[in-house]
């Protein structure tokens, strides 16, 4: 194994690829500088129990060891190539997949990759201040694991830009390090990635809802006729699963702790016991879920139709779940606002691609919410967490610029304004939630507002020293 391969684990033949080496020579130091400047604040020298992917073989992608984050070995991995693979959908159905970027789709692909890639460093920047208020060492470690893997996902996208998009690709890769979440002058591309993640409740909801959007986007790109993109995204999905686990169980542990605190309190008041009460949690769910629905784009979208037609972006599990992969026939019923009414109209299937992906996402989210509700139910508490209607609080698509209540009824803007504080988190809620975010940095201990996990990481106990503070 060459020195380069040792430094940057990969299965893309880095040690023999001059073009890639030249690009990375310049980009890699800038990446490290970016990480030091914008990565987790104040914890760069800690030794963190992280998993590192060193190969795509079974077990190869999960090597655990204590490591300082700037020394993390960010690698480049693609799922192994399947010979004879053909394009699975769209106008080019059945033709061999592209191993190089087809000129016709160069710009569209670059845009897809840059937009996806931009979210990865953005989320690291959004979460950089959370280390100091971690509710436990276990959680702190999970945060940093998510962060370094978002960093690796950036590498994955940058690999594609460097390897397949020439000079323009190198410039885009530089720009991915130059934009900054929340910076007015050089903001991240998507609006949702410019809001800071202020506290751990938001972090868990981010990992639950926003990363889950990421999962569906990656899954749709994993169907791509541009094979290197498909293979890259397939591998990223294996890592994304852990992020979703962190989010879903994180919220689940809050729910569990809230139920315990309610039982402890004479008035069933979790807040009085320093926890996050269920109505407040519901408001945060409404907030994060609705913002994440926007990330899928407009319900009816010609861009989505184009990407499908061109064979660039498919549906979730396109091959196993659908029979018609061309989709020129057929329509989908969709709701629109006309005047003061909701009307149902037919939209061509291709134009509805964003909506198909969003629907799968919603089902997945509901499954998690059902789990949380089981916890509440088995605690004997009469409360049900709900996902709001997909029309509620939207700023992109058919429902943007109209007001809806969480049940999806069309209401006036004034009515929404009046009820907003009951449905979405308020500045007071933010102050309260922030106030209980006291760090708990002793191995085996945990903050008051969240329950410990059922088990630790990689077979280690909860008490394990996941982070050795510097």
């Amino acid at each position: 194994m060459s020195e380069l391969d040792e430094k940057i684990p990969n299965n893309v033949g880095l040690s023999t690829d001059k073009r890639l080496q030249r690009a990375l020579e310049k980009w890699q130091p800038n990446y490290i500088n970016w990480w030091k400047e914008m990565g987790p604040l104040g914890h760069q020298a800690d030794n963190v129990y992280l998993r590192t992917a060193i190969s795509v073989e079974s077990g190869g992608w999960a090597n655990f060891d204590h490591v300082k984050m700037p020394d993390y070995r960010w690698g480049i991995f693609l799922e192994p190539k399947t010979e004879g693979k053909t394009i699975g959908f769209g106008d080019e159905l059945g033709k061999p997949v592209w191993d190089e970027v087809p000129g016709e789709h160069r710009n569209a692909l670059r845009r897809l990759i840059v937009t996806q890639g931009d979210t990865e460093p953005a989320s690291v920047e959004q979460q950089r201040r959370l280390g100091d208020t971690a509710p436990s060492m276990y959680d702190m470690r999970n945060l940093f694991q998510v962060n370094v893997e978002e960093g690796r996902h950036l590498w994955a996208m940058v690999y594609l830009l460097h390897r397949y998009f020439g000079r323009d690709g190198r410039e885009e890769a530089e720009d991915l390090l130059n934009r900054r979440s929340g910076d007015d002058d050089k903001p991240r591309i998507l609006g949702a990635f410019n809001e800071p993640t202020n506290h751990w409740l938001s972090f868990f909801l981010f990992a639950m809802f926003t990363d889950r959007d990421g999962k569906y986007q990656l899954a749709a790109l994993a169907e791509s006729g541009f094979d290197p993109l498909a293979r890259t995204c397939s591998f990223m999905l294996t890592e994304e699963a852990h992020h979703l686990f962190v989010g879903e169980t994180g919220v689940g542990r809050i729910v569990q702790r809230t139920c315990e605190l309610m039982k402890k309190d004479p008035n069933d008041d979790a807040r009085a016991q320093g926890g996050i009460d269920l109505p407040t949690l519901q408001k945060y769910i409404n907030q994060w879920y609705s913002v994440c629905l926007d990330l899928f784009g407009g319900e009816s979208s010609s861009n989505a139709a184009d990407a499908f037609a061109a064979g660039l972006k498919g549906r979730y599990k396109e091959q196993s779940r659908f029979e018609d992969h061309v989709c020129l026939e057929g329509v989908k019923d969709m709701t629109f606002v006309e005047g003061n009414k909701l009307v149902t109209k037919e939209v061509a299937v291709r134009t509805a691609m964003n909506e198909y992906l969003r629907e799968d996402y919603i089902v997945d989210c509901q499954r998690a919410v059902d789990r949380w509700n089981k916890t509440i139910e088995s605690a004997g508490i009469n409360f049900t967490l709900k996902l709001p209607s997909s029309r509620f609080h939207r700023s992109i698509g058919n429902y943007a610029e109209h007001s809806f209540d969480p049940e999806g009824n069309l209401i006036s803007a004034a009515e929404f304004e009046a009820k907003k504080g009951e449905w979405l988190s308020t500045p007071e809620d933010e102050i309260y939630v922030t106030s209980i975010m006291k760090p708990c940095l002793e191995p085996g201990k945990i903050a008051n507002w969240i329950a410990p996990p059922r088990r630790g990481i990689n077979g280690q106990p909860f008490e394990y020293e996941y982070v050795k503070l510097a």
């Binding site: 710009n107 670059r110 720009d175 007015d184 002058d185 591309i189 139709a305 037609a309 061509a348 134009t351």
Partner: protein, 547 residues
């Protein structure tokens, strides 16, 4: 479809805000998506249709007449991350060929009006591109003197027409890129095929924009650029301010009637008669009295009416292909109006009136209908109205025994009103015998030139006596109305402009002509064309044969 109306007022704008503050004006594009000109599409992301451009043209005109104190006009938007995304594609997709062509011509003329104001009226235009500036949006910016783009890492200037829609940036975009901004043509080639466009430093290096500022310094930067523009504005006499009153025409089934202009149409015959009247009484001769008449001054009102009538013809009467152009009234009143106007060019308002007349005459030159000017008894093809005869495709004169029918030249014909290619209509008419210009003009200074004598100078196309005239004219009109309208459009556009090219003529004769050809080709507008299928689930299929 309801007929298109072209008169509007800032109080009624749906898509723009005009705010004047001292010597600065802000023209803010805020397109109301819910109010397209006709149902069937939404004007999302500051995209425009004809109704949006009508307001822009109106605002430009009013700044010149009603706000002479203004030196710098900043065109910008208050839509987040979007300056203007160009002509609405769905609107284009559902429009007839004739509408598309006339829409493009109108928007082209509006941008030329902006440049005309910059060149002649002591104004400077600044495009403050606060977000995505695509297609027609960038073409609007190109019509300005200075282009400032926000440097936010994502906002670009772009021409996505060719890669996305299989058409051209046809509102002067291609031409201005290489002829006005001097972008190197190979770079222009790269830029025009890059759907997402260019941003940041490279857009400056390539000359696509003049300055970039980060978002936090954008407003400040725009102000600095506006200050710099204000300092370099030519010292041109402006004002006094004159309000442009509504024209209040009356539109009947077969006629458009204004105070001095009438357009009558015969739909069965596909012909029309455009009649322009001289002032009914002798016009004032001193500047003060002329200003006091305001927008009722014949020289202004008559040409605003003529402009509106030409637009009615273009948009609302697509089948009226053959127009006889007539004049009526007293020639001496027209000559007096010309004399007063041209003698008082040190008055800013009267300067603007002359510039407006010149613009309207250019619109006349560029109207794709056959124009036959007809001089009979009571005609007054004098001075500026003679320009209508000189600009027509043919000029018929009646030869009468009493020598009452004739034409009158004035200073107005001696280079005061230039056509799009920079030549006067006399120069166009006598392109191969320029010595005739002086002869005709010096003879004209002695008074009316009767038909037969005018013929000896080579001014009319056909002179016929009372026995032949009516039949001669009737047959010519009927014959013309029977020919292919497409061939006639191409023929007339080619013959009307002998001599040199300018950026303006290249926009119409090269860019628009190719665009209009592309618009009829299956690759753009066939059942599987890119424009037809834009926003549809199906992708375009091209016939790859090159011509």
């Amino acid at each position: 479809m309801d007929p298109v109306r072209f008169e509007t007022h800032p109080d009624r704008y749906k898509h723009w805000k005009l705010a004047v503050d001292g010597d600065r004006a802000r023209l803010v594009m805020q397109v109301d998506p819910e109010h397209p000109m006709k149902p069937g599409y939404e004007l999302k992301l500051n995209s425009y249709d004809l109704s949006v451009d009508i307001e822009l043209a109106d605002a430009t005109q009013r700044i010149r007449f009603e706000h002479p104190e203004v030196r710098v006009v900043t065109i910008t938007s208050e839509t987040d991350r979007c300056f203007c995304s160009g002509a609405n594609i769905y609107m284009l997709g559902m429009s007839t060929h004739s509408f598309k062509v006339n829409f493009c011509k109108y928007t082209n003329e509006t941008r030329l009006f902006i440049e005309d104001a910059s060149r002649n009226s002591g104004l400077r235009f600044l495009a403050a591109c606060n977000g995505a500036t695509a297609g027609g949006g960038y073409e609007l910016a190109l019509a300005c003197d200075d282009i400032v783009l926000v440097d936010d890492g994502s906002s670009t200037v772009s021409f996505p027409e060719t890669p996305l829609l299989a058409v051209l940036p046809g509102t002067g975009g291609l031409t201005r890129l290489v002829d006005k901004r001097n972008v190197r043509r190979d770079r222009a080639d790269v830029f025009c095929t890059l759907a997402e466009g260019m941003r940041g430093k490279r857009s400056i290096e390539w000359g696509l924009v003049d300055a970039i500022y980060p978002k936090s310094k954008f407003q400040e930067g725009v102000k600095e650029r506006a200050d710099a523009l204000a300092a370099q504005v030519a010292d041109v006499v402006r004002g006094p301010a004159v309000t442009l009153a509504p024209l209040k025409p009356s539109f009947e089934d077969n006629a458009y009637r204004y105070k001095y202009v009438t357009l009558e149409v015969d739909r069965a015959a596909r012909t029309g008669v455009l009649t322009v009247s001289a002032p009914s009484e002798a016009p004032p001769s001193d500047a003060k009295a002329m200003v006091a008449q305001g927008s009722d001054l014949w020289s202004l009102r008559c040409f605003r009416e003529l402009h509106d009538a030409l637009l009615q013809l273009r948009f609302n009467e697509p089948e009226i292909g053959m127009i006889t152009v007539r004049t009526t009234g007293k020639a001496e009143h027209v000559l007096a109006a010309d004399k007063a106007l041209l003698a008082n060019q040190d008055n800013g308002f009267l300067r603007e009136v002359k510039l407006l007349q010149a613009r309207v005459l250019r619109c006349y030159d560029l109207t794709a209908r056959s124009f036959f000017a007809v001089a009979e008894q009571d005609s007054c093809f004098a001075g500026i109205l003679l320009e209508l005869a000189l600009g027509a495709d043919r000029f018929y004169m009646l030869e009468d025994d009493d020598e009452e029918v004739g034409l009158w030249t004035s200073e107005a014909n001696a280079g005061a009103y230039l056509s799009s290619n920079g030549l006067s209509r006399m120069q166009l008419h006598f392109f191969h015998t320029p010595e005739m210009i002086d002869k005709a003009l010096s003879r004209g200074r002695e008074g009316m030139i009767p038909s037969v004598e005018a013929d000896s100078f080579g001014l009319p196309t056909i002179v016929a006596d009372e026995i032949d005239f009516e039949d001669e004219l009737r047959i010519a009109i009927e014959e013309r109305a029977s020919l292919s309208p497409d061939a006639l459009t191409g023929m007339e556009a080619s013959l009307r402009f002998p001599g040199p090219e300018t950026m303006e003529t290249k926009i119409f004769a090269r860019l628009s002509a190719w665009q209009n050809w592309i618009f009829t080709r299956p690759n753009a507008t066939g059942a599987q064309g890119a424009l037809t299928l834009y926003g549809q689930p199906e992708r375009a299929h091209f016939d790859y044969k090159r011509t």
